[in-house]
Symmetry: C2
Subunit: 324 residues, 2 copies
């Protein structure tokens, strides 16, 4: 099956916008059904933060560890075969332990921080990581500058994203989300180029508010997407997110969480939309739209399921391309 | 023996200037023969450097680990019962591995960097460390600002100290040593206070050029030492240093390395000088001097040897005090 599929789409250039875990899973599928050179991942850096003086890039690392076959499948973050010597000692000396960095994960974060301090861009650092770990897919940080996603709680407090997400376990109710640290952030040239060169753009089943929106908020990105065939995969199934606070964010912001709400969220840039088979009944009642809907199994536990969803997304994208 | 000794000197306030390993050994002895509140260690920070974005303080950590009973006796640096998961991963990904940070050591360096980034001074951070590890001796960094020792090689290249010391294994010949990053550095208030309050000041058997000289170069320190009884312990035995490049530094700078050369190095601030029994024969030929010389066993392998040397230094200091 795959050789035929690969042959059929070997000239297709695909650029995928992604956050961490959910995005990483679809990227594994896409990486397996496309040849090196066909696939670029543009990854959210709105979650990046400084911790113990180190530059931490949770989504980039989730994507890279996944593509390198090094991801911890159980936790959904960090590395498999990990040890925790440093974290245990941090606990022993009373240091903050709410962000769990394993020893191997930490080594890579040390090296990233060192390379950045030597004047390399985050894009260059990630390219180095991909080389070291033999990753074929081109992985691009959405930008090189700091572009933190900030969360305003209903109590009026502004929180850094990891503070909200990891330390406070997404418990505060959200009043507002500010992207890119609330200022204009220069897009990375390679990001714009990857979007311009793409035949098909995929929005991975990542959190629309805090994984995909930061990328869309970069200057020029939304305009480019309006010109291109764009297919999104819903991260919401039966009103819930498989992982993370996407559904709660819809609710906090006064929107009933559903696949349809995801589709509406992306209104104006979307040509195709894949939602889970489990939402097929609901879909009968959705508002009419020019967006082509298609259902699929979107829960990706095995590599086969990742590959199947990747093929479904590419096939839908190709049909949209042909229809143009 | 010790209770009597403790009783005799219980009102003596002692401040010791020290570098890393050799200084730490004498401090263990002093810590054991003096009561909490009597002993302050002023520790060189000229070796401090940024590595992977972390603030590393080699001498402070050697002293603190030693006083906490956590030092690695075999290597003479780092922590005992250490693991090396992070370093192994750094090697695997091709990151610099010339400065070996163990996992537990690393945890403390992460926490120091975090506490500094939150606006704490290095003095406050080390006080916190002493509290966490139950250290009674007051340990003071010589200053809070960066004050790097720089090494100029005979090839004319300027090197950071750890570059010279660890990465290049002290191989380059030294033409010049620049202290405090070649600029004026504000002394720490607590350091000046500890010197003012001291009845006796001890120069530990640390490297005179790069461990003690940086402290002496701080504004006000040398003047204060001229007013106080000061006893030094020679780090040179039979023309060699037990550890580190002290002897080679004398040679590189055109001075024959010997205990007498150490005494001359401290000329003007010294009242008493302890050199090793092995140099007793040489001492007969030393230039006459007003400094009171005394020989002792200065090699400190066991706690008993550390205690014995500490008592010899304090006794000599007390005699000098009485003679005033």
């Amino acid at each position: 099956m795959i050789p035929k599929f690969k042959e059929a789409y070997k000239h297709l250039k695909v650029t995928t916008l992604a956050g961490g875990v959910g995005g990483a899973k679809l990227l594994i599928g896409l990486d397996k059904v496309l040849e090196p050179g066909q696939l670029t991942a543009i990854v959210n850096t709105g979650d990046d933060f400084l911790h113990f003086g180190l530059h931490i890039s949770p989504d980039l690392d989730s994507v890279c560890y996944a593509l390198a076959g090094l991801a911890d499948q159980l936790h959904g973050w960090g590395r498999k075969d990990e040890s925790w010597q440093v974290l245990e000692e941090l606990r022993r000396i009373g240091a903050p332990d709410w962000f769990a960095l394993g020893d191997r994960d930490l080594a890579w974060n040390l090296e990233r921080t060192r390379l950045l301090s030597e004047g390399n861009t985050l894009t260059e650092v990630i390219a180095h990581f991909c080389e070291v770990f033999g990753i074929h897919t081109r992985v691009l940080p959405m930008c090189n500058e700091p572009a933190p996603t900030l969360i305003k709680t209903k109590e009026g407090e502004w929180l850094g994203f990891q503070d909200y997400f990891v330390r406070l376990k997404c418990q505060p109710e959200i009043a507002e989300i500010a992207l890119l640290g609330n200022r204009e952030v220069a897009e990375s040239e390679l990001v714009i180029q990857a979007l311009q060169e793409a035949d098909l753009i995929i929005l991975a089943p990542s959190n629309p508010w805090v994984s995909i929106d930061p990328i869309l908020a970069l200057k020029g990105v939304r305009n480019l997407l309006q010109e291109k065939p764009v297919v999104a995969v819903s991260p919401i199934i039966q009103g819930n997110a498989l992982k993370g606070p996407a559904a709660k964010m819809f609710s906090d912001l006064g929107i009933h969480p559903s696949s349809e709400a995801v589709r509406q969220h992306y209104e104006g840039i979307l040509d195709g939309f894949i939602f889970d088979d489990l939402d097929l009944q609901d879909a009968a009642n959705w508002q009419p739209s020019a967006i082509i809907n298609e259902s699929s199994q979107t829960i990706m536990k095995t590599d086969e399921e990742k590959i199947a969803l990747a093929k479904a997304v590419i096939s839908l994208g190709a049909r949209i391309l042909q229809g143009r």
